[in-house]
Symmetry: C2
Subunit: 216 residues, 2 copies
């Protein structure tokens, strides 16, 4: 493309690879944005470039909230067979849609102002339920991630210091933190997860109020 001929192989020169990467990343993001805007679809883009030694992430849209929402939707679609289960968010959305449908039907009948007002309040309430469902799921996800981090975080990352004077070959020398492995086992990992999970759910209660009573 452009002036030269494009061969779809890894660009060997690191410098021009980087240049190309930056240019194309910009365009790709622009295109993703345009697709979203023009066609009313949600588009998410993950770009993970392996810098040394860690990975650098870029997403579009940059907003984590939107990314999480997309991941949630993706998961609920990829893991469930249609009609066999249902996600909370979808439940409320569908309910709201149904109410809107019913409402438009009822508009043929006379609706007094009092009822109309009630109705508006009700729709607001449903909106807020949808938000709460989202927040709660997100909270639990974040919590779960945190749990895993905690469980794995027991580990100190392998030290980067290397002894240069290894002279005699011994395969077991290749592991220089042998003791640390003792701490890893299924049981420990599981029970830590269980404990943390219960602890967080039961005690730590910033879970939003989540009652399903509609007293209209």
């Amino acid at each position: 493309m452009g002036r030269g001929i494009l061969s779809l192989k890894l660009i060997p020169n690191p410098k021009s690879r980087r240049t190309t990467f930056l240019k194309r990343k910009k365009s790709l993001i622009k295109k993703a944005y345009e697709l979203s805007t023009l066609c009313d679809v949600q588009t998410c883009l993950f770009i993970a470039s392996d810098c040394d030694p860690s990975t650098h992430f870029e997403t579009w849209p940059p907003n984590h909230h939107q990314i999480h929402q997309m991941i949630r939707s993706y998961k609920s679609h990829s893991f469930t067979k249609p009609n066999s289960s249902y996600d909370l968010n979808r439940f409320f959305s569908d309910r709201k849609n149904k109410i809107l449908t019913n409402t438009s039907k009822l508009l043929h009948n006379v609706v007094d102002h009092q009822s109309e007002h009630q109705l508006m309040e009700l729709l607001d309430a449903l909106d807020s339920k949808i938000r709460v469902a989202n927040d709660m799921i997100e909270f639990m996800e974040a919590d779960y991630d945190h749990l895993i981090d905690q469980a794995i975080g027991m580990d100190t990352p392998p030290s980067q210091t290397e002894d240069e004077e290894t002279t005699q070959f011994n395969v077991s020398d290749l592991f220089n933190e042998p003791d640390e492995f003792e701490e890893y086992n299924v049981e420990g990992f599981q029970s830590l997860l269980e404990d943390k999970f219960l602890e967080t759910l039961v005690q730590n209660n910033p879970i939003p109020d989540f009652d399903f009573d509609f007293d209209y």
Copy 2:
């Protein structure tokens, strides 16, 4: 773009919106693929188009495994401060890299064939550990999703049958499954989650063998 002038607004005509969507989606995926190939970066694309009434998902790459890996990486990057924690997969990858580094140093020394063979076996073992770590994390993720489905799955989706003969307006009529709401409350939801979580983790044990002993 193309022949006409592009205004970055929603395309009003549903037909041309759909056409544009299909064309641009194809190009976007192509570009994402090219970026990955040319620049050695991982690129994932989620496209969620709201057909009626459900959402249709498309990802690039289409392989779920790769998508999950990306999501996992994204989460471990977005939720953790650098160096404070560590993901299991990364742990093994780093370890393997370190071993490879050490190996190349040791190549200066004489390595007999026996040791070389051991070494190869060891690298294979590490590869398999990496896979197991991946599988385990994936299993737990899937399990968690399943839990949530179970908890929410108590619900039967709102029936699509609608009574056409509603003549008198009554706001509470808009909810035609009022009894079902009784079952939803924080406590029930939580304890169901907890029970299921424990049950699955403790009893249901298709968790892959996950010992960290290296007996070389």
